[in-house]
Amino acid sequence: MQPLTRVEGRAIPLGLKNVDTDIIIPAKWLKTISREGLGAGAFEALRAEPGNVIDDPAYAGANVLIAGDNFGCGSSREHAAWALGDLGLRVVIAPSFSDIFSGNAVKNGILPVVLPQDAVDRLLEVAREGQPITVDLESQTVTTPYQDRFTFTIDPFRRECLLGGLDEIGLTLARAEAIGTFETARTAAQPWLMRGTGA
């Protein structure tokens, strides 16, 4: 995974609430067996509307997306994170995120930043003026050229994974012994739990 420390650039002022993963990437794009190329299907229905913010040349090359409450709700499809990444986005700022989406985002080097609604409203204004937004994960701040400065909190483990571009599976496999001990104990105590399909 590509590490993420600081992102500076234009932001797409989407602003909508309850942007579900069917909006981010509709089902017909889920037939792929690869992670690549999903940007083409990102926000498909929204982009069919003339003058939509995603394709607005004013926000070309943006790497930040600003949205409303409950971003990424709905399906667990990680295709949503892959599609945003394929559009070149590295940060999504919103007042709240669905739990599954924010986990998926972090695993793909995309930072979900939670800020209160008034801060998000201010950033939407700045973005609409075409001004850049700077997101710094080290200092956990979002700043603008107008001296706005908002701090955000993030789960320390997720922050560490993003900053270091860490492979979570590698981290867990390093604890294989502890997992093995756990399994041995439960195989002895509750063997039926470990049978699964082999019952």
Binding site: K17, L30, S96, D99, G103, L173
Partner: protein, 491 residues
């Protein structure tokens, strides 16, 4: 950095005078391998369901990294999302090829990946095939007190058996395959307490739609919901699965109902459930799985069951719920400015005018199916309304998609297939179908569908499709009258 736990799982510790715990906390504790100082825990995963859509990239990554599956017997693979629901074998008994090349390739990938990694695979042509969330409980693979995951957000469904079940992304599917664990932050326990009893003709689906309407699509965000109250104790397992299924539509990671004798009776004798002495030991353990008196919930919502009417959605979020006797709301009815904007957008998409009686909304399509409402009881409830009746002329397409081959076979034994066919419905093979419009079963643009599924999102049942979420009986009633209808009037 790592704080080791005592190697013995918590559930084997003697009952100590520890602080009272919620059901969620008990299951969490029993699955904690270790907890890091930052609060992230390695949680052991007992059961993993895999389907064709969210797994190919995970298997490919394992292959590239040269990593095996740690415990293949704890994973079960079934195709469902992308599978056509038309006949799977021809008259000569040969498998019918899948026309769409991308769908065919994705289904073929699962068929190759599962055995290559030693995972039990239920093929599309098997009687046991079905929607993952129908198959898991049906096979006794899903059990109380277990952690169950799947690359699908409606995994919350299995909470109806008292399991901690939740949806995960593809990277997490890969993580579970490689390590049989997940790295997780504990959610907060939330209680939805329903007081009193449901009125006659008010179903589990009406109840959960009403609950989501009350707490909102983000109301459970950051929480695991436990549903409590006499209503749930009186429910069948099928009804409990329907309730827990839609927890994710309230933003919750998972939903839980404490297991009881109803649960145990449902599971006894299922192919993958424990047998003999192990069954007795399992039941003894399962009886400890309930929230202790005095356990603290971080959030508590109380709902009055008697006030609930059959429910229907009018908008494009599952929180857009109204009683069937109600009317399409106006943006002006909402205090919050951003909600007013969202309501206007929803009404435009849905082609609805504020003030219209819900029972005046015409319906052109009816879908009975999905992991929310495709079990035998759901089909019985719909068939009870349809018996001796026929769909209205303006209902162009009416389709029943049983949740599994076993549900389908049982329904056929009971003659339900004939009731549906005589009423003008198509009787299909099991799968997700029009719930997500990934296979050829889609609702045409601009047309309405009375659907027993769980999501009314923009484009969910096909581009431009307009979904009204309802119970099976209500879907059947809408088919008969050609408009949204209170099923109690046809009882």
């Amino acid at each position: 950095m790592i704080r080791g736990h005592h190697p013995t799982p918590r559930m084997m510790e003697p009952i100590m005078a520890s602080r009272p715990r919620t059901l969620y906390e008990k299951i969490w504790d029993a699955h904690t391998v270790e907890t890091r100082d930052d609060g992230t825990a390695i949680i052991y995963i007992d059961r993993h369901l895999v389907h064709e859509v969210t797994s190919p990239q995970a298997f490919e990554a394992l292959r590239v990294a040269g990593r095996p599956v740690r415990r293949p017997e704890l994973t079960l693979a079934v195709p469902d999302h992308n599978l056509p629901t038309t006949a799977r074998v021809d008259a000569a008994g040969k498998a019918v090829p899948i026309a769409d090349p991308e769908s065919a390739a994705q289904l073929a990938a699962l068929e190759v990946n599962a055995p290559a990694f030693g995972i039990r695979y239920i093929p599309a042509t098997a009687r046991e095939q079905g929607i993952v969330h129908v198959v898991g409980p049906e096979q006794g693979f899903s059990l109380p007190g277990t952690t169950i995951v799947c690359g699908d957000s409606h995994t919350a469904c299995h909470g109806g058996l008292g399991a901690l079940a939740f949806g995960i992304g593809t990277s997490e599917v890969e993580h579970v395959l490689a390590t049989q664990t997940l790295l997780l932050q504990q959610s907060k326990p939330m209680e939805v307490r329903v007081e009193g009893d449901l009125g006659p003709g008010v179903s589990a689906k009406d109840l959960i739609l009403h609950i989501i309407g009350q707490i909102g699509a983000a109301g459970g965000s950051g929480y695991v919901i436990e549903y409590r109250g006499r209503v749930f104790e009186q429910m069948t397992v099928e009804e409990r699965l329907t309730v827990c299924n839609m927890s994710i539509e309230a933003g919750a990671r998972a939903g839980l109902i404490a297991p009881d004798d109803v649960t145990f009776a449902y599971l006894k004798g299922r192919p993958m459930a424990p047998q003999g002495a192990e069954w007795e030991a399992a039941v003894a353990y399962w009886r400890t799985l309930h929230s202790d008196d005095g356990a603290i919930f971080a959030k508590s919502v109380v709902i009055d069951a008697a006030a609930i009417e059959p429910s229907v959605t009018w908008g494009t979020s599952p929180e857009d719920v109204v009683a069937i006797g109600g009317r399409v709301p106006s943006p002006a009815d909402f205090a919050d400015e951003s909600k007013r904007v969202a309501v206007q957008k929803s009404l435009d998409y849905m082609g609805l005018t504020p003030g219209t009686a819900m029972t005046d909304v015409p319906i052109e399509n009816v879908f009975i199916g999905s992991c929310t409402n495709s079990r035998i009881e759901d089909l019985r409830a719909a068939a009870a309304v349809l018996k001796g009746r026929h769909k209205a002329d303006n209902v162009r397409w009416a389709i029943v998609v049983p949740g599994s081959g076993l549900v389908k076979a049982q329904a056929e034994d009971e003659g339900l297939d004939k009731v549906f066919i005589e009423a003008g419905f198509e009787w299909r093979e099991p799968g997700c179908s029009a719930c997500l419009g990934m296979n050829p079963d889609k609702v045409p643009p601009g047309e309405r569908c009375a659907s027993t599924s769980n999501r009314n999102f923009v484009g969910r049942q096909g581009p431009g499709a307009r979904t009204h979420l309802v119970s099976p009986a209500m879907a059947a009633a809408a088919a008969v009258t050609g408009r949204l209808t209170d099923a109690r009037e046809l009882a």
